[in-house]
């Protein structure tokens, strides 16, 4: 498990070496919030083709939102661009202290089942540290998470 978080840590910090740093301006939490669709035509007819997004992809990738380059952040074959894509739900789960996005992040970074509830509580207690402003990027959240975990008796074992 130590390997896990070390990998995250390494990747987290190596991102600054990209020419266009992932998570630059315009990539803050506020810009990662999900947007919906509305309009009567959409409501009336959207069902007839049974699918709306990403239809042409037979993918192994998570795509890119212009903030994190797919493949730049990976761990164990899974892209951490994933994390960028769930920032909205992740922040909500952290504010509540539980939820599936929180659980998925815990799995991704190798937190063992016995420690997941505690992981949730620690993140919950540190909401304002993790998400200080609407401009906070996924990268910054990830980096802060590592620091928060390092300062916790139970979770520090997952950090290098």
């Amino acid at each position: 498990m130590k390997k896990t978080i070390a990998g995250v840590l390494l990747l987290g910090f190596s991102s600054t070496t990209f020419a266009v740093a992932p998570g630059g301006p315009g990539c803050g939490w506020g810009n990662m919030l999900l947007e919906g669709k509305s309009g009567l035509a959409m409501h009336m007819f959207a069902g007839t083709t049974n699918g709306t997004w990403g239809n042409a992809t037979f993918g192994m990738t998570f795509g890119t939102n212009g903030c994190s380059v797919d493949g730049a952040l990976t761990y164990g074959g899974n892209s951490l661009v994933w994390f960028d894509g769930v920032l909205d739900e992740y922040s909500t789960d952290v504010a509540m202290g539980h939820g599936e996005a929180l659980g998925a992040v815990a799995v991704m970074i190798g937190v063992e089942p016995a420690d997941r509830a505690h992981f949730g509580e620690v993140m919950h207690d540190n909401f304002e540290v993790l998400f200080p402003t609407t401009e906070t990027t996924a990268q910054e959240v990830l980096n802060t998470m590592i620091v928060v975990m390092a300062n916790d008796e139970t979770l520090k074992k997952y950090v290098g």
């Binding site: 509305s38 709306t52 239809n55 504010a95």
Partner: protein, 609 residues
């Protein structure tokens, strides 16, 4: 470099294949997606509409030629594998099956097929669920539903389905916007259908968070071998075009085919000959007894509605207040409340602002408001309670309906027979369906008066109804649209006319299970001569009540008729289900125009199948 050299010579393999009549085997037809076709010279044809899928020139219609070409390209004379386009990299399931049928040793997929191995490494095959995003508010066309498959990685049991992948068959509409043309093209087969695999959390976001559809997940009991078999075939369908037809050869049909292929003892797809309604495929899968577990995910909207109703009425204003200004939670009137109640209110306020921000688009101010709400919420301990699970869609009534009834109109008795091709109207037993939404297609009524001939009373081509009960906190529109042939006793001797009607307005839940609505309506009726067009406008006020599966609708309509005086009508419809697929319906109406009043009443038995 070919990684496997086949010892057998071509003619002996081909003789063996023909001797075994492999080209007639069910598995071969499944792999080619063959079905009978009147336009094909051989009487059968593949539903795949893509030359890349066939190794023989006439492979689409000639399954034997395709078999021989496949034996040649995969087993006898495979070219050197230079990239992933090689037939041995693309037609993995074909090769596995041919080897086993022809008594050849099984062979690993060549390591040169890098993309295949990469894909199989990413897409989990530990377990699989059938996923049904239920219909969503204000969108009757979504009532047909949609299905997709969820494929889980090994750590699913301890982790989160957010790490799973979805396998989805959908029309490839490119970047076209939603419109009526889009819908027609979808219905008529104007789009190509393709499989796609994308991260499951994106589907959760699409359906649950953005479209506000509740999601049902049916865990299926396929084992890893069966799933591997299925994925070998799914890989063959990568980027391959099928014709996409909304009503039958749609998402759900293709998924049934895959399940049949994964486990040959299943016979799911063949149960759907004319139409494949996604909700019906869920029922078929449940009937086949392959579901091991059912999981319900409430959408954001459903969660808000349910939790909002758990807040006592006198405290509900706090929700709106805190969602607009998180600071107001520090007022002493609020902090004096029970802390669990505070937590619940703050959570609903947060969910509401999340919901609204998704509708309204991103803005700096909105992001700031949301962050304030999240910070506020993080100061509370929010319990993990989930909302009550509604009745699952598979317990809903079946989707075709026949009716037998009798009534009296203008002092004449009549009998009436009806057939409705699909699906559900506002009054049908709503267990497993969305309350206040209806979609009716091809609704035919034949009527015979005591003295007179049997005649077509009406033909409803399409009717969409949406009477939302969520206007309570959401600002949603209610509306209605219908097109079809109808008779109007007061006009042109009760002749048939083509009529289009649309109405739009607001609705709100008056008390629990009772929705009140007010709609303005406009209609145009055209008779066979152009000078006989009638344009009417009206106001409809009504109440819709649901009680334990029964439903009643009372409506008052005031109409300004094209060339006549005002007409005032009232009607009452009452539907009582007797069992899942049986119901009685009673209706009464009274029309008054120029001091002339017509009353009519009818009783009807309804059978769904």
């Amino acid at each position: 470099m070919p990684s496997v050299v086949v010892a057998s010579n071509e003619s002996s393999l081909i003789d063996k294949a023909l001797g075994l009549e492999l080209h007639q085997s069910r598995t071969w037809h499944q792999l080619l997606h063959v079905e009978s076709s009147t336009r094909s010279p051989t009487g059968i044809e593949s539903q795949v509409d893509d030359v890349r899928y066939f190794l023989a020139e006439n492979g689409k219609t000639d399954v034997q030629a395709e078999l021989l070409a496949s034996i040649d390209a995969l087993l006898v004379n495979p070219d050197a594998i230079v990239n992933d386009d090689h037939p041995r990299c693309r037609f993995v399931a074909r090769e596995v099956w041919l080897r086993s049928e022809l008594g050849l040793p099984a062979s690993e997929v060549p390591s040169e097929c890098a993309l295949y191995h990469q894909w199989r490494g990413v897409i989990g095959s530990h377990s699989m669920s059938l996923v049904f995003p239920a219909s969503y508010l204000n969108s009757p066309s979504s009532m047909f539903g949609h299905t997709l498959l969820r494929l889980d990685p090994e750590n699913i049991e301890e982790g989160s389905p957010w790490l799973s992948w979805s396998l989805n068959f959908a029309a490839d509409t490119g970047s076209e916007n939603f419109s009526a043309g889009y819908a027609l093209k979808g219905i008529a087969g104007g789009y190509a259908g393709k499989f796609n695999t994308i991260p499951y959390f994106k589907k959760l976001q699409e359906y649950g968070a953005i479209e506000n559809r509740d999601i049902w997940e049916y865990k299926l009991d396929f084992n890893e071998q069966e799933l591997a078999r299925m994925l070998e075939h799914v890989w063959e369908l990568r980027d391959i075009n099928f014709d996409y037809y909304f009503f039958r050869q749609n998402c759900s049909y293709r998924l049934l085919e895959l399940m049949d292929y994964a486990r040959p003892s299943l016979n799911l797809a063949s149960q759907f000959r004319l139409t494949t309604i996604p909700a019906d495929t869920v029922k078929a899968v449940v009937r086949a007894d392959i579901v091991s577990d059912t999981h319900y995910r409430a959408s954001l909207g459903t969660g808000i509605q349910s939790r909002y109703q758990s807040i006592p009425r006198h405290l509900r204003t706090w929700v709106e207040q805190i969602s607009t200004d998180a600071e107001s939670a520090s007022k002493s009137e609020f902090t004096e409340l029970d802390v669990d109640m505070q937590a619940n209110i703050v959570r609903v306020a947060n969910d509401l602002i999340t919901y609204r921000s998704r509708l309204g688009g991103r803005s700096k101010a909105m992001a700031q408001r949301r962050l304030s709400l999240l910070k506020l919420m993080s100061q509370y301990s929010i319990d993990e309670s989930t909302i009550p699970i509604p009745e699952p869609p598979e317990i809903g009534h079946d989707t075709r309906t026949v009716t037998v009834g009798g009534g009296r109109s203008e002092k004449q008795d009549y009998t009436e027979l009806g057939f409705r091709w699909s699906y559900h109207d506002l009054l049908d037993r709503n267990n497993g369906y969305l309350k206040g939404a209806g979609i009716v297609l091809s609704d035919i009524k034949l009527r015979r008066y005591e003295e007179g001939e049997t005649q077509l009373q009406s033909f409803g081509l399409v009717e969409l109804q949406s009477i939302s009960d969520r206007a309570l906190i959401f600002n949603s529109l209610s509306w209605n649209f219908s097109a079809g042939l109808v008779r109007d006793a007061a006009r042109l001797n009760n002749r048939l006319s083509v009529k289009l009607t649309g109405s739009v307005g607001k609705s709100t839940e008056l008390v629990r299970n009772t929705i009140g609505y007010a709609l303005v309506e406009a209609s145009v009726a055209q008779y066979n001569r152009i000078e006989n067009n009638f344009v009417d406008g009206g106001l409809r006020l009504g109440v819709l009540n649901y009680f334990r599966g029964a439903a009643a609708q009372l409506e008052l309509k005031v109409e300004s008729r094209h060339d006549e005086s005002m007409r005032v009508s009232t009607w009452l419809n009452y539907n009582v289900p007797l069992a899942r697929n049986h119901a009685l319906r009673f209706s009464y109406s009274r029309n008054t125009q120029s001091a002339n009043t017509i009353q009519s009443g009818m009783a009807q038995y309804r059978f769904y199948y």
